[in-house]
Symmetry: C2
Subunit: 162 residues, 2 copies
Amino acid sequence: MNNNVNYPNNAGTVNNPNNAGNVNNPNNPNDPNANKVDNTARINAIAKEFVNYYYQTFDADRKNLAALYRPMSMMTWEGVQLRGGEAIIEKLASLPFQKVGHKITTTDAQQSLPHVNALVIMVTGQLLVDEETKPQQFSQTFQLVEDNGFFVYNDVFRLNYA
Amino acid sequence: MNNNVNYPNNAGTVNNPNNAGNVNNPNNPNDPNANKVDNTARINAIAKEFVNYYYQTFDADRKNLAALYRPMSMMTWEGVQLRGGEAIIEKLASLPFQKVGHKITTTDAQQSLPHVNALVIMVTGQLLVDEETKPQQFSQTFQLVEDNGFFVYNDVFRLNYA
């Protein structure tokens, strides 16, 4: 898996992850864990870049997330199932707030199935919309698949109500 | 994808999902949405069965979750990465509580990649341990893969702190 994540509009940033030095260390072929360790670091680096890019873009102008989705992409937004980038962006753009800010609490990532360049990410965090002062907790799960950079294949979003 | 989920120790229940009648309706081959609709219902039925079984088993005796994991299964538990059913069950068994009860708030599921019988599930809910009276919010993501029934390939768990 290539750890360069070629997001549109932000290529300068995402092609220079801060921890590229770590994830590109050559494996020791005599160490049975070398590949595993390296892959874990790489998966985590991709997830971190993606999550930073995703929520920064969401908060700046969420219509610009369109390039991350494909016609086969799925999103379940508060239980509403959507298919395809067009439907997903239409839904996101229609959400009834003007300003939004996401604050990420945790990002956990794992390699998805062994025979595809894909990863599963779960994010937990808080978001504030418009003039509200009490943040709402949210959880979001992504599966990213590599195909000339990574796109979002699965996306599930939920607010967490106490 | 076969919608019978052959969990150990609970086969009687999980082989008779309440909504089997819905998910087994034959598709109309002239309806381009028939497969999609049917597949969504089936994915949701499998997810619901799995989630019910998983948390009931967790709350009754979490060591019995061993049969859901394989040597290649991954779990990230509050940021700790584990690989393989043995390590995962050892971690779950070592958690410092005797009694635990999970209450599921939401279960969202999507077909994973198109060429495998796999699904991604995100669960949000609350849990209570031992004598505590204030529930803790949690989020958990699974990827299930079919291979003589479904096993857990990816598993990410997080408590949601306000």
